[in-house]
């Protein structure tokens, strides 16, 4: 009974003080808490930011005469030496991020049942997935940088029959002008970097959520809404990756 009272108290604290004057202002019309509403609208604004980047990408890519083929650029795999596996590594990264998202959904569900151990268990796996994704991205960036790719220098140029060819900067030297379309590097590092920054922020927030759960902060509060808000942010990061994956690797 004490727990029920605490939940009720919390809901009154978070509602704006409104007079019951018969105009309906005392009730939340969307039936969703203030915190979650604001997280949704923040994510909407973040979707605008990402869309602006992707619009720039689409416009520049379509405006160019030639563009590197992703199957020939992103075909390296860790521990596989010089074997070329187009799309292999990035598919694994996509799968890791989807699974991480699923683990956080499970944490939210356990939160609804006030299962502290369950929330901690699934948050732990969610954090691990996010960290693994960041590690994969670091490897991929390192690989491209080692090939000579820079934000304003592109080593993938139009070879014979329009085939994507790698200019070997270590053997052939570094021409003053970028061999391939310059925008490719800036867009790739810019957009995947901005997404990676979101993943990093999400991992940090989830780690905080994990320790706050362990501390019993949400148990005392009587609800795990904070885990739900962290979950919304984390799923959004997964959602953006779906479109980054589409724009950079599939198309």
């Amino acid at each position: 009974m004490a727990e029920v009272l605490e939940i009720k108290e919390h809901h009154t604290v978070h509602q704006l003080p409104t007079a019951d004057n018969g105009e309906g202002g005392e009730k939340s019309p969307m039936n969703i808490s203030y915190g979650k509403t604001m997280m949704w609208y923040f994510l909407l604004s973040d979707a605008f930011t990402f869309s602006a980047f992707l619009i720039a990408y689409a416009c520049l890519r379509l405006g160019h005469k030639w563009w590197p083929n992703p199957n020939d650029v992103f075909n390296a795999m860790p521990f596989m030496g010089h074997h070329k596996i187009p799309m292999g590594f990035v598919s694994i990264m996509t799968f890791i991020l989807i699974m991480s998202s699923v683990f956080v959904v499970r944490a939210v569900q356990e939160g609804h049942r006030m299962n502290k151990k369950g929330v901690m268990y699934w948050m732990f796996w969610g954090i691990l997935g996010g960290a693994a994704f960041l590690g994969c991205q670091a490897w991929e960036w390192q690989h491209l940088l080692a090939e000579g790719m820079r934000p304003f220098y592109n080593v993938f140029y139009e070879g014979k029959d329009g085939l994507t060819t790698l200019w070997n900067v270590h053997e052939q030297g570094k021409p003053l002008f970028s061999p391939g379309p310059v925008a490719f590097g800036a867009l790739f590092f810019g957009i995947t970097g901005f997404h990676g920054f979101h993943v990093f922020t999400g991992v940090c927030l989830n780690i905080w959520g994990f320790f706050a759960t362990a501390n019993g902060t949400f148990e005392k509060r009587g609800h795990y809404e904070m885990i739900e808000k962290l979950g919304l942010y984390w799923h959004f990061v997964d959602l953006v990756w779906v479109f980054v994956f589409l724009a950079f690797y599939l198309m």
Binding site: I7, M30, C59, L62, K65, D238, F243
Partner: protein, 110 residues
Amino acid sequence: MSDHQLTEEEYKAQVAGVWKVTVILSIVTVVEVAAALILGPHLPKWIMNPFYAIASIAKAFFIIGEFMHLKYEKRAFMLSLGLPLFFLLWAIIAFGVEGNYLHKLLYLIK
């Protein structure tokens, strides 16, 4: 989220729903990658790209609806998020068309 205590059956149904969506998302991703590797080199871009785009938007609907739980919110709330995104979709298409025109202007018309 509703305030009432979840029954064991409701909880089990929710968990099963999440794993079902996980399987769907994985299958769509595998199909996308397989299509890019097997059909990609043989079919023209104007067939493949819309296919990838539709598959990705389908994935987005599953993530937003089930994982982010928007399917279970009020309709007014769904619209307040969906309508701005609809106009955004228009902007993406408009700029794509503009880029394509730029391409024609620079390289195709002599």
